[in-house]
Chain length 228, copies 2
DNA sequence: CACGCAAGTTATAAATTATAATTTATGTTA
DNA sequence: TAACATAAATTATAATTTATAACTTGCGTG
């Protein structure tokens, strides 16, 4: 990497870092290119050398967030891969919530409403989205394929017309995955993910004294249903 | 109501209506006081006679949305009150999703991330929030109290330290509600609501061919667990 | 050494929310 | 009915946005 490119990368990183900081203080809306530039000691339009537009910056942040979440999940999955399936998936799901609470802004960027007028570009975010779901699927595959656990009873009553559509990128990560595994994964992910969104996007929070305990409780309940 | 007050109310309604329309087209961010005024044939600052600020307008819209959702749920609950508990709750939950899909903007206003820099005022929104949860609780109370159904098995393993905190307003709607009923309600609401948020805020949608079928499937699964 | 391109600058355009000052219209009251 | 108070709307203006254009500076490589 040339000397110039290195400095360029540093500048890009600093811009993104400041953008995250700004959003952490005032919400996803308070992102201001001008303010960032000012804070970096340069003036407004200079930033457009590094990001084509405000939306381009946001897209970059979203992609980063996706990667970071996926990395966190994969790392946990790897660390507990020698533990029993139940413990391994438990740790992954706990990491999921932990990461969301530790990086609320990034989580909002990924799963929240689009920012002011920002239009998420499916083409850019979709590939990485698969990486988030993949670790969960891999653990479930181990449970039902390798260890031959019986599939959950509720799969029997699943409507036959209902079909899963694994995205291109996810199929690359996990080729030839049995449909039943994916179904179980979706049911679990919806359940878990929904809880986290509710906790993070508030409005329901005051209902429970300790969301963490409730989350753990629901995880065990889910595992029981999954025959883990 | 005086003649002037009536016109004033009409104007307020028109502003809110146009605001909703605007958001429906360009997302919650595209709300512009100027554009509304222009569309109404008056110029900018005139709107400030009716709403103190942009945030005040948004708050009004949020309150309206809460009311509308609560009304829809209550209406369905009333219409099916003579049906078996299971059918009644099913219809209420179907209405919940239906309303969310039919009014995505309002649903985002209520449960999504705050708009660009907008800070939700708990004091204003909390009271109405109770009305959304209340119909569900009432049906569950009927099941477990009046009809003496056994409580779900999973309640046994609920951590004893976990406590529910019913808001002031909810206690007024439902006084002296057994804690167990509230627990079941929360578990159910989290599950259901989480699914809807995922469907609405996308990012996971392409995973399933028919979200409606999945939703119905999960409802039945939930009911089985609830002994309904 | 000199040329080319990257990086940053200022100037400017088109929006936004919001305030101040002013005019116009309405409704009530002496 | 006439006069006055207040509501409603206007224009002008300020302070911010994002974004483009044109120009200057300076690095680094051939």
């Amino acid at each position: 990497m040339t000397r110039r490119a290195k400095f360029r990368q540093i500048t890009i990183d600093e811009i993104k870092s400041l953008a995250r900081l700004q959003m952490a203080e005032g919400g996803t809306a308070s992102l201001s290119l001008n303010a960032i530039a000012k804070h970096m000691g340069m003036s407004g339009p200079a930033l457009y050398r590094y990001f084509e537009s405000r939306d381009a910056l946001i897209t970059a942040l979203i992609v980063d967030a996706y990667e970071a979440l996926a990395n966190a999940l994969e790392e946990t999955a790897a660390r507990f891969v020698h533990q029993p399936v139940r413990e391994c998936l438990r740790q992954v799901l706990l990491t999921y919530r932990r990461w969301a609470l530790d990086h609320p802004i990034d989580f909002q960027l990924i799963f929240g409403n689009p920012i002011p007028g920002y239009q998420a570009e499916e083409a850019i975010t979709a590939p990485t989205a698969g990486r988030v779901f993949a670790p969960i699927l891999r653990i479930l595959e181990r449970a039902y394929q390798q260890e031959n656990r019986p599939y959950p009873a509720f799969l029997e009553s699943l409507p036959p017309q209902l079909q899963v559509r694994l995205s291109q990128s996810m199929q690359e990560v996990q080729p030839s995955l049995p449909e039943k595994v994916v179904y179980v994964g979706i049911v679990g992910w919806y359940h878990i993910h929904g809880m986290i969104m509710l906790e993070l996007f508030n409005h329901i929070q005051p209902l429970l004294s300790d969301p963490a305990q409730f989350y753990s409780f629901e995880i065990e309940r889910l595992f029981d249903q999954m025959n883990l």
